[in-house]
Structures are given as C-alpha cells and as structure tokens.
C-alpha cells in the first residue's frame, strides 16, 4: 500500500509541474496563431470564499472593459486579454499566483487583489518580478508606498475621512458634538484616525467612541455607551455591519442624526433598514446617477451578466482596465514591457466611471466625494463633487 501511494505521489508531483509548464506554452501558441498582437493582464480575485461576490464582480467588470476596448479596435493595435486566477481571499494563495504571473512573461500587469492583506503580502513579489500590481480596492494606507510597482485606486482615507469631518459634520450638518463607532480593521482604524485629525482642525467635539471586531452582531452595549454621551451626530465607519447598527440604534429609541463613512450608497442599507435609514447621510466617491445614461447602461449590462446589482467595487475594477489601456496607449510605438507600463501608469490620467484618477507619487489617488442622503427609501445626491472647493 505504501509503495503504491508513494508512486502515486511522485506521479502527481511530476504531473503538476508538467501541466504548469505546458499550460503556458499552449496559450502563447494560440495567440500567435491568430496573428494578432495581444497584451495580457493577470487578475487576482477571490472567486470563492467569503469575498466571492466581489471577486465575481471584478471578473465580470474587467471582462466587460476588455470586450469594449477590443470591440473598438484595441489599443495601439494590441488586443487585450485577461487571465483570471482565484486567490480565495487567502494571502498564501494570492502570493503563489502573483509569483505565477510574475514568471509568465506573457502577463504584462496584474490587477488585484481584493483585500489589503493579500496585496501587501504580494508587494515584495511583484517588486522583485518588476510587474505592476494595480489593486482596485486595497485600502491599507501603507500599501501603495511599499514598492514602485504597487498601485491602488481605492482612494486614500486621509482624503475621505477629513472631508467627512469638515464638510459633512461641520459645514453640511453644522453639528458640534459627534460619537464614533468603527470596525477594528486596517481600513476602520485609518479612517478613524484621519477623521479625528480633520475634526480637530474644525473644532469638533468627539464625545464618545467605540470599536468592534469583524463579524460582531450585537452592538447594543456599545451603542448605549455612546448614547449616554448624548452626541448630536453618530458616525459609523464600516461597510458590512452598517445596516445592523442603524437598526439597533432605532431599537434603542435613540433619536440621533446617523451618518456613515464606508458603505457608500449601498442597496443593503435600504433593503435591511427600511424606515430606520430615513435621513441617513453618507459620503461616496461614486453614485449610479439614474439621470446619467452611460451609468445606467453600464449597470444594466453588469446586472445581466452577473445576476446581481453592482456596488462600487466592480466599477473601480472596470476603471483599472481602462487605466492600464491608457498606459499602453501612452507607450505609443515603444515596446509594451512591464516597466513601460509602470512608468506610464504613474503618469496616466483618466476620467473613470467612478470619477477622475490621477496617481500620487506613492501610487495611490485622492478621490472627490459626493454627499448623499436617504429620502423616501432612495439615495439622493445632496451636494456634488465641488462642495469642498
């Protein structure tokens, strides 16, 4: 038995290595057979696991962008292609796949991953391989600065959170005392710290604050603590748990102005909170404006392909492809190499579906924000991008 098993193991090992090598060779033949010049990107996304919804969104949105670009004749005579890899949202898998893309000379740039942790674990790998890793959603403020090859277009929290303090709480609502509740994650802590900085500048009084860990369900005790401090405004920093917190505030009969930083105009808030969400104010870099034809059409196509409503995440993934296409266009007649893409990506500027994109020195961007509120069960834009100017 043991012998059979050891033979089996040996065969498996050889088989993996062979399939690993031959797979790459086959694809390059295919592309050359068609006689077209192809630039290939790699997409790292959690197609399975807890974040699978976002991974699927990435996959569909990037493919949409590529189909559009190819249908319009490609970029500089090049067609675009994408190879999708499932990172499961696990850092180790993501790193293995980043190495795989790094080894594959066909792949000119990597889009992904979804979570900051995986992106940061990949940073030394893409740095060594000299390949761009452009993350649509990495929110850790340290990520983009880790290597010249790491980029993120999520938008820095040191822009949104101070905007929230200065323009929503102070200017729009005219409130003076706030209570904060935030998730203890890289994003939550960074947002909170930046909010506090902005609040100090305009002289806001933070009367109470509390945090909680991911997947917590019952917030009544922390909310009671915040209620006791009697603030004018409550600020929630989270994406997933916002509906629960809003509902539990209502259960406590606490009549307070609720504002939330993070979820944007999430459909979930409307669905899960109903009347409780009425009057809620949020900031968002992007809003599907029902009056904008381009956005409505995009939303419709996405929903047809994916079977679910898009959030902001697939939209930024879609922008990533256009950003890379722009970088390739800027190379012009030069050879499309990994380094050429990096250098031009740094300088690229586009008007994305989710707002304008222009990289800072470190490789991340500062976004501009809209102020939205819930009125009659719908999100409406209260103030436009120019409110902070």
């Amino acid at each position: 038995m043991k012998k059979v098993l050891s033979v089996l193991l040996a065969v498996m090992m050889v088989a993996t290595i062979l399939t690993g090598c031959s797979g790459g060779a086959k694809e390059s033949n295919e592309t050359s057979a068609k006689g077209e010049k192809v630039v290939k990107f790699g997409l790292l996304a959690p197609l399975t696991g807890t974040n699978a919804e976002y991974g699927k969104g990435f996959q569909i949105a990037t493919q949409m962008a590529i189909d559009e670009i190819n249908a319009a004749g490609g970029v500089n005579g090049y067609k675009l292609a994408i190879e999708v890899a499932d990172s499961k949202g696990d850092q180790k898998e993501s790193s293995d796949l980043a190495r795989k893309f790094g080894d594959d000379k066909e792949i000119k740039a990597i889009i992904g991953d979804f979570a900051s942790g995986a992106c940061m674990a990949n940073a030394p790998i893409v740095d060594a391989a000299g390949i761009v890793q452009l993350s649509p959603t990495a929110s850790n403020p340290d990520y983009a600065g880790m290597s010249p090859y790491t980029f993120s277009i999520m938008g820095r929290q040191d822009a949104e959170a101070p905007f929230f303090a200065k323009y929503i709480i102070d200017k729009y609502l005219g409130a003076k005392s706030v209570a904060l509740i935030y998730i203890n994650s890289d994003w939550g802590v960074a947002s909170h710290d930046n909010f506090v900085k902005g609040a100090e500048e305009v002289g806001l009084n933070i009367v109470a604050e509390a945090n909680y860990v991911q997947d917590e369900k019952d917030f009544s005790s922390v909310l009671l603590k915040l209620k006791a401090a009697d603030p004018e405004v409550l600020v929630i920093f989270d994406q997933g748990a916002v509906p629960q917190i809003v509902n539990q505030v209502a259960q406590l009969d606490w009549d307070v102005q609720i504002t939330t930083l993070g979820p944007g105009t999430s459909q979930q808030i409307l669905d899960l909170c109903g009347k409780n969400a009425e009057g809620l104010i949020t900031s968002t870099p992007f809003f599907f404006d029902p009056e904008s034809e381009a956005q409505t059409a995009w939303k419709k196509t996405f929903k047809e392909k994916a079977g679910f409503e898009p959030t902001v995440h697939p939209v930024v993934a879609y922008d990533c492809v256009y950003l890379l296409a722009k970088a390739i266009e800027m190379i012009g007649d030069g050879e499309v190499s990994r380094d050429a893409i990096r250098d031009n990506l740094q300088k690229a500027e586009i008007e994305g579906l989710a707002g304008p994109i222009k990289f800072s020195e470190a490789g991340d961007i500062s976004r501009q924000y809209l102020i939205c509120a819930v009125e009659n069960g719908q999100f409406v834009i209260k103030e436009g991008y120019d409110y902070s100017k």
Partner: protein, 337 residues
C-alpha cells in the same frame, strides 16, 4: 515495480549514509530543476506545512492530545520574529529558536491548567486559545500593529547573501524540515518518546507502570508548540508582511487536515499530507468552486478507507482497530487451515 522497490530497500539498508547523501543531493538540486519562482513558491509552501503538520503530529499523533488551535503557536512565532527583528534588530537566525521558545512557553501555559482534560475537552480549550491569540494580535495595536499588521520585516542574511526569493528561501525551509525530522526521530526513540507512545496507547496503563503522565504530556505539548513557533518565525520574513488574518482557526484546521490525510503517528505522514493537500490545491485550481468539495470528499474517503491516514501508524489505536481486526481474521484462518 515491486522488485525495484525491494532492490532500493536492500540498497538503502546496506548503505544508509550513501542513500541519505543521494537524497539530500536530489533535494538540493530541486531549485536548479525548477527555476520558476511560482513552482518554488509551491514547494516552499509544501515544506512550511510539512514542518507545521509535523509539529502538530507530535502532539496529536504521538501522545493523542487533540490540539485544534495549532495556529495560535504559529501566530506567536511569527509575531515574535517580526516584532523582535523590527524593534530590536535581532538577527533572523537567533530569532528562530527564540520564537520557538516563546511558542513553547505559551504551550506550557495552555497545558498546565488542562492536564486533567482529555480528548474533546482539551480540543475546545486549544480552540479558544487560538482565537484569543488572534484577537490579541488584532487588538494590541501598540505592539502588533493591530489591524494594520507589520510590514517591512527584514529578510534573513546568510553570510552576506540576502535571502529574498522563493528559490533561496527553499534552503531555509528544507534545512528546518530536515532538522525537525532528525530531532523528532531521535526524540521518539528516546525515553521521552516511548513515554508519549505509552500515554497514547493507554494512559492509565502508562501511569500504573510509573510514567509521570502530566510531565510527559506537558513536554509533548511544548515540543509541538516549539516547532510551530519556528515555522512562524521562518514564515514572517518570507512574506515580509503579517497581520492577524493569517492565523485564523481555518489555518489551524488546514494544518490538522494535512496531519489527518497524511497519517498520524509517523514521521513521514504529515510530510505526505502536506504534499497531497498543497498539490491538490494547485492541481484542482481549474475547477475552482468544486475544489473544496473535492477536498472534503478526500477527507471523508480517507476516514472511511484508511482511518490512520496515508502513512499512519497502522499498529496503534489511531487506525481505529480496522487493521488489527483484518490481521486477526487472517491469523484465525491460517490456524484453521
């Protein structure tokens, strides 16, 4: 095929040193055969998990204390290395044993109040401990960076050569696995190892024969935790960034599944488990969604056909009595004939 095997076996028994030499040379040559960093990355992962699964096997397989929260010790080792090298500029090579000792101390702390607990009760305690350690790593922001994690962990330096890529890191993991296998094989054959085995087979009998079960169980737990700490310390500078999401309960279950698939109570079992599980992860990548299903089926089939795992100790209680019964039946038949 069988002839070839028996020839190899005879050769191995005659020239043990030469066989080891050939094996080592083959292992050292692997990076030359696979210059792609992707494949080396997978081989590195196999070695890392061989070390972790091996350490867990010492606890679960040799003394039958069932530890589920093994990721806790791994976490302690990784954070010890990361914090000490970032804050105190300690050398990687010194930090390897230090991290191991930290993890072993934690192992002792878990073990002391639970010495009287057995089976599932001990499992639940280790489960809780694993979550506690992860939450400490998440919430003690001053020390561990909290949710921001620790980045820029310095890479090890080997006589002036910076060990950065997955190819050069292979030698570190390989060295650790060889040291682990050698040390453990010596320990198992010693008085301590025999005490562990006797506790595994029958604790009451062991005690009645004068084995100080509490002491040996604590030692066993510490030894297993030590190697998780070493593995963590080797892993932290490999990724150069760690945060608490690396060390969830899932990670503990992942290591446990390798031990179960590979087989408990033998040295080679966890190594085989690590190879099978990690290779399957790569081989089944094309069927993405069904990958986890295939994985679960493998475990169920394993439990059914070979409860002691691929290379498990078949002459022990770990095999669930299946093998013994078969042999007994065969013996009976022979007697009748």
């Amino acid at each position: 095929m069988n002839e070839l095997f028996s020839k190899i076996k005879i050769f191995y028994e005659k020239h043990k040193l030469i066989s080891f030499g050939i094996g080592l040379a083959l292992l050292l040559a692997i990076p030359a055969l696979f210059p792609k960093s992707y494949i080396m990355g997978i081989i590195d992962r196999i070695l890392l998990y061989a070390l972790l699964a091996g350490g867990l096997n010492v606890i679960n397989g040799y003394s039958s204390q069932f530890c589920i929260g093994y990721a806790a010790f791994y976490c302690i080792g990784a954070y010890t290395e990361a914090i000490m090298s970032l804050r105190l500029n300690f050398n990687f090579w010194i930090l390897l044993p230090i991290s191991g000792i930290f993890a072993a101390t934690a192992g002792l702390l878990v073990c002391l109040p639970t010495l009287k607990l057995k089976g599932k009760y001990l499992s639940i305690v280790t489960l809780g401990f694993s979550e506690i350690i992860r939450l400490i790593a998440l919430n003690w922001s001053g020390l561990t960076g909290g949710p921001m994690g620790l980045k820029g962990i310095p890479v090890p330096n080997f006589f002036g050569i910076k060990i950065k890529s997955s190819i050069s890191y292979y030698y570190i993991f390989l060295g650790l696995v060889i040291i682990f296998l050698f040390a453990t094989s010596r320990v198992i054959k010693s008085k301590i190892g025999r005490a562990w085995l006797s506790i595994r087979e029958d604790e009451l009998a062991a005690r009645s024969l004068g084995v100080e079960t509490s002491k040996y169980k604590a030692l066993n737990f510490m030894y297993g935790a030590f190697w998780a700490g070493v593995a963590g310390a080797a892993y932290a500078p490999y990724t150069r960034y760690i945060d608490s999401t690396f060390f969830t309960l899932d990670e503990g279950f992942n290591i446990l599944s390798m031990v179960i698939i590979g087989g408990m109570g033998t040295l080679i079992g966890p190594v085989a488990g690590s190879i099978v599980v990690n290779l399957l992860t790569e081989l089944l990548r094309p069927i993405s969604e069904y990958r986890m299903v295939a994985y679960a089926i493998l475990i169920i089939v394993m439990m059914w056909l070979r409860p002691q795992g691929l290379f498990g100790a078949s002459n022990s209680i770990l095999s669930g009595g299946k093998i013994k019964k078969k042999e007994e039946r065969r013996k009976k038949k022979e007697v009748v004939v």
